[in-house]
Amino acid sequence: MKSEKQKVLLLVGSPKKKQSASYALGTYLLEQLQRDRLQTETLHIYSFIYKNNTLEQLYQSFEDSDIIILSIPLYVDSIPSPVIQMMEYVAKKRVENREKIQQFMVLINCGFPEAFHNYTAIEICKCFSDECDFKWLGGFPLGGGPIVNGRTLTDVGRLGKNARKALKIIATSIGDAEPIPIEAKEIMTKSVIPARIYRFMGNIGWKRQAKEFGVKKKIKNRPY
């Protein structure tokens, strides 16, 4: 690490905030980084969207940071609208002042078992990064994000092993100010559960949850 006082900002882009897989992934990465004595901050984007004009407050942390880690869920094949709103705001601000060298990366997780569903969203994030003249550190996709929800990446045990391994590689590279090797992405995208088993277990899970709310027989309702 070149400087002792580098600031890393984790931006969590899930409405579930601390209960989200996005938070679990991002905080695990921060924990690996903190060993290098970085100054870190975690903000939840959704906390700044519901109120008027507080993207300015978020941006104050953003523009002070040397490394920005965006950790988000995949919504409808891309980025949740509040996160896009933040990106639109940041891009507009960076037009005014792009003196500070900042590094940017994204962790993105989806509810489908296959990590590739996240790829287009990563391309959008890179486009944003380029437009803002950030140094792009990479985009790292995870399939089966709901496996993590509400727990830490350590607590999920074997189910989180690939993600943990990939995040450690990412943390080491950032700490050494080296490019993140392609290996990190390859490891993260490796499924821990075969897709057909994930689908089967997932569908059982949806029925169980619907039963808990007393609507199992109505799950295929067509209200419109």
């Binding site: 409808v76 094949d77 980025i79 959008i124 949850q209 619907a210 295929k220 419109y224």
Partner: protein
């Protein structure tokens, strides 16, 4: 003779004159063809961000628990024969204004996973799905952003089980009413959008 329903969603800011030209041109063209058209400026309606609670799948199946315009846009999406969406191409994707409506569309599909062409997707809730047209607006040509935009659209069309779909990216340079009418005419023809009497 059944009247066809169309929905036009403009996901641009009020000052985007190019988007307004296309929006107005679609409205006129479809009205002339005898279609019943609901045209919405998404910047003017209140749609809260999706909370990711999945209650639209497991508690109030098919309907979002939030009682705002997000319910209306989902209903429009389900009940339309044709949906047309307009957006500035934003980092290669959709604007936050358009995306807030799309994020709230998931009540229109089922939670259950299925396999389509080797990939996991969600099962359809309804039997009928609208034809889907997307118009993206760029200040000038930008091949990379266009490529990402089209990829995103095709992924959406697949997930939304659209029977037919088309995307066009236009450039603001020298774009006028004539240009808008030509684009609209081309897209409607390409997608077999006919008048009620045709």
């Amino acid at each position: 003779m059944t009247t066809k329903n169309a929905a036009i969603w403009d996901g641009s800011k009020p000052e985007n004159t190019t988007a307004k030209l296309i929006y107005d041109s679609f409205k006129q063209a479809l009205t002339k063809k005898g279609w019943k058209t609901q045209a919405i400026q998404l910047s003017e309606v209140s749609i809260a961000p999706c909370q990711g609670c999945f209650h639209c799948w497991i508690k109030t199946p098919g309907e979002c628990i939030y009682r705002d315009y997000g319910r209306e846009t989902t209903k429009m999406f389900v009940q339309s024969d044709l949906i047309i969406t307009i957006t500035p191409v934003t980092f290669g994707g959709y604007s936050s204004i358009l995306k807030k409506a799309f994020d709230r569309i998931i009540p229109s599909i089922l939670p259950f996973f299925t396999q389509i062409e080797g990939e996991t997707h969600h099962e359809a809730r309804y039997e009928q799905h609208p034809k889907f047209l997307m118009i993206g607006i760029l200040p000038q040509e930008h091949k990379l952003k266009e490529e990402i935009f089209k990829k995103l659209f095709y992924r959406n069309a697949l997930n939304m089980h659209s029977p037919s779909y088309n995307v066009k990216v236009i450039y603001e340079d020298n774009f006028n009413k004539n240009s808008a009418d030509n684009v609209v005419s081309e897209l409607l023809q390409k997608n077999g959008v006919k008048g009620n009497e045709e």
